[in-house]
């Protein structure tokens, strides 16, 4: 962009940044709103999932217990249930089909066995009669992988158990469900801990209470399943109505009520209140406990007692719930950043498209300012930029016209200046021309006179030769005058011998110097007259003649009169050092000698343009013209590059 002062940020850059910032700002606001909304939705989803999972678990649990009740009621409807009391009441033989009591017991045991086989969680099914303080009539139980029907001698009386006492109190068709408690054998909690629920229902025979049917179902597998099938980020708990754990990822914390430990949900979450109800349903609520979020579903499993429930809950950290929305946020901001970047790039691209024509104009003005060929202008553009381009183009053309005029008038000035110096020289020339003219004249006249006196042919020939010689002398002088006076401003640069330049000076000035007894010398230092340099020969001759003429004017009335030109090579330049015997130029004059119209000569003697024009010519040659102030005599240095390479 040429030698301009540093420009700071370009317009393209500014517009890009502005447009980009606006786009970025807009997308940031919209993006943030959307992301925040979406993040809320994602959080809501995560929370809903938590609720859903909890409800599923609760349903499973409740349905397991419902099935248990159902199975109990189903078994009561099977034939052996009535067959056994019928046989008992008829001395051991059923009056209807003559089956004896053992046959009925065996049939019932088969039914029990099949059911236990089908239901992996069923531990024990028993038929207990009122007789004998609740003596077991039929008892089938799971024993490891086997299913065993107990022989009569192993049957016990269960009249004191809670389930027995409860079951005999309820109506036909109802099912008593015990609390879940660890299985005890002979009063001791059995190992491994087996949580057990008992479902018991009364059996009536001929309108009178006869006994009960009891199914023991174990929960360990159900709870294990519940824990195992829970997604990793969720922690499942099941507690009873008091808050003791029935299911806990850490099994040691379960069954505090049976093992006399006090691991309760209230311990983990002090703000926990099982009496609490939810907004949506009474049996469901979400608890924010510290860093955790816990969803609780109160699972009412006993249709006969409305206050019995398991609290099924899934806990997760708030962070976990948020992770989806946080990830969404990250992803969204990443995309947003990408969008901002893309919008910046697009804005930059559009701005440069938009500003491109302006840049062209700028480039053109820069070219114009630096004198280069003006590159293309967006003249066809229909907008303001096109208008600007067109008015710039007009301006440029006007400028070119002016420049052309200037060049023409400059050329005129140059030429006029040269003609002026030619005029100065013409005086000297007159003498030079006059002498041969006079010689020709005398020779011709003498021949005329002598012819009357019978002149020899040889004499005539000699005279004619004299005339020819003198005519040639005059022609040479005229020729060099004509050559030098021609307008050479637009001459081509050609390889020119140094000698050709000095010859031009000699031709024009030698006679003048001779007549004034000025000692004029051209000395070569390290180069010869055959060395070449690229220049407009006549222009440079004019510069040198101008320097020499100035020197002539300075020394012609001095006592010591000499002018010398020392020609030497300095690096890539050839120097013409013109020194004369005159004293050095005073500093105040020195500062102005290259100014146009400055002259120390009398009016009419100098145009005051010589040195300024000379310096202009030299500048066009990439050369230098200056005064060597170190010298005690007046000393001008003209340095010209040897080659034309610019």
């Amino acid at each position: 962009m040429g030698n301009l002062p540093s420009r700071g940020i370009s317009i393209v850059m500014k517009v890009s940044i502005l447009a980009g910032s606006i786009a970025a700002f807009a997308s940031l606001i919209v993006g943030t709103l959307i992301v925040n909304g979406s993040a809320d939705i994602v959080y809501e989803n995560a929370l809903n999932r938590l609720k859903y999972e909890t409800n599923i678990k609760s349903l499973r649990l409740v349905s397991d217990i419902n099935n248990l009740s159902g199975d109990t009621q189903y078994l009561v409807g099977t034939p052996p249930i009535q067959g056994i009391p019928r046989a008992l009441n008829n001395a051991g033989i059923d009056p209807r089909d003559k089956s004896d009591i053992d046959e009925w017991k065996s049939r019932l045991a088969t039914i029990f066995s099949e059911l236990i086989r089908a239901k992996p969680n069923y531990l024990q099914i028993r038929y207990i009669g009122l007789e004998g303080n609740g003596k077991e009539l039929v008892r089938v139980e799971r024993s490891g992988s086997l299913i065993r029907t107990l022989p009569d001698n192993e049957l016990q009386s269960k009249g004191d158990t809670k389930y027995f006492k409860e079951a005999v109190k309820i109506n036909l068709g109802e099912v008593y469900l015990s609390d879940i408690s660890l299985n005890r054998e002979f009063g001791q909690v059995s190992e491994p801990h087996t949580p057990v629920i008992r479902a018991a229902t009364p059996i009536y025979f001929e309108g009178k209470l006869f006994g009960i049917l009891v199914i023991n179902m174990e929960f360990s597998r159900i709870f294990e399943d519940l824990v195992r099938k829970t997604p990793r980020e969720l922690i499942p708990y099941v507690t009873n109505e008091e808050g003791f754990f029935l299911a806990h990822p850490d099994r040691n914390k379960t069954y505090g009520f049976d093992l006399n430990t006090d691991f309760k949900i209230q311990e983990t979450y002090p703000e926990f209140d099982l009496k609490k109800g939810g907004d949506l349903r009474d049996d469901e609520f979400t608890l924010n406990a510290g860093d955790d979020v816990v969803h609780v579903v109160k699972s009412y499993y006993d249709p006969t007692k409305a206050d019995r429930f398991f609290a099924v809950m899934l806990a997760t950290s708030y962070e976990n719930l948020q992770s989806g929305s946080v990830q969404l946020r990250y992803k969204s901001f990443l995309i947003m950043a990408l969008l901002v970047m893309i919008s910046l790039v697009i804005a930059g691209f559009l701005a440069s498209r938009l500003m491109g024509p302006l840049r062209l104009i700028y480039q053109a003005s820069d070219d114009l300012a630096n004198g280069r060929e003006v590159s293309e202008l967006p003249l066809d553009s229909g907008d303001e930029i096109g208008e600007l381009a067109r008015s710039f183009d007009d301006m440029r053309h006007q400028l070119e016209d002016k420049k052309r005029e200037l060049i023409i008038s400059q050329g005129r000035v140059h030429h006029a200046n040269k003609m002026a110096s030619m005029g100065e020289m013409a005086g000297g020339m007159a003498h030079e021309i006059n002498s041969p003219v006079q010689a020709i004249n005398f020779t011709a006249q003498r021949v005329q006179r002598q012819l009357k006196k019978d002149m020899s042919k040889q004499e005539i020939n000699e005279s004619m030769e004299k005339i020819t010689t003198n005519v040639k002398k005059i022609a040479d002088i005229i020729d060099s005058l004509r050559k030098l006076s021609r307008d050479s401003t637009h001459d081509e640069f050609i390889a020119t011998k140094v000698k050709e330049l000095t010859d031009d000076i000699m031709n024009m000035t030698e006679e003048k110097f001779r007549l004034k007894d000025i000692d004029f010398n051209v000395n070569y230092h390290g180069i010869t007259g055959d060395n070449q340099l690229y220049c407009q020969r006549l222009q440079i001759s004019q510069v040198l003649i101008n320097l020499v003429n100035n020197a002539y004017d300075a020394v012609q009335h001095s006592k010591e009169k000499w002018i010398k030109i020392d020609i030497k090579k300095a690096f890539d330049k050839i120097q013409f050092v013109v020194t004369d015997s005159g004293p050095s130029i005073p500093a105040d004059v020195l500062d102005k000698i290259f100014d146009p119209m400055f002259t120390t000569k009398e009016i009419g003697e100098g145009t005051g343009l010589g040195l300024s024009i000379s310096r202009e010519i030299v500048a066009q040659h990439n050369g230098l013209l200056y005064v060597d102030r170190e010298e005690k005599n007046t000393c001008f240095v003209l340095a010209l590059p040897v080659s034309q390479a610019t």
Binding site: Q438, R446, K516
Partner: protein, 130 residues
């Protein structure tokens, strides 16, 4: 050299013209000596008497105007003809004797503006030397 032969000193820096003047004057039976500049001419004037000094104006070292002044001092009887093509520095009229050069004025016998007619010149000289 015949006793009554008149002596002319030709002073001219242009070799060709000087030679021609010598030949022309010799054709007319004058005794002719020649110098190519004023300095040389002054030396010759010291050594010899000349009836006529025919000198060019513009010459190196000592010019014709200076030479004329010196000659008038040395030999007031010697006639002087000054040739010149004219110029800014000189004010004089062809055929007359008042010459102003730069700031000085002298009166000589004849100023002749170059180029001049041979017959006229010879006529002038013949009249001058009687």
């Amino acid at each position: 050299m015949a006793a009554n032969q008149k002596k002319i000193l030709v002073v001219e820096d242009d070799d060709s013209l000087r030679d021609m003047l010598v030949i022309i004057f010799e054709d007319e039976d004058y005794y002719v000596a020649a110098a190519s500049n004023g300095e040389q001419a002054l030396q010759m004037l010291d050594e010899e008497y000349f009836d006529l000094l025919a000198t060019d104006l513009y010459m190196p070292k000592v010019n014709g105007f200076e030479l004329s002044i010196q000659c008038q001092k040395k030999h007031p009887e010697t006639k002087i003809i000054l040739f010149s093509g004219g110029g800014r520095e000189i004010t004089a009229t062809h055929g007359k004797g008042d010459v102003q050069f730069q700031d000085e004025k002298i009166k000589i016998d004849m100023f002749i503006k170059k180029p001049c007619d041979l017959t006229e010149l010879l006529g002038v000289i013949e009249k001058m030397l009687g």
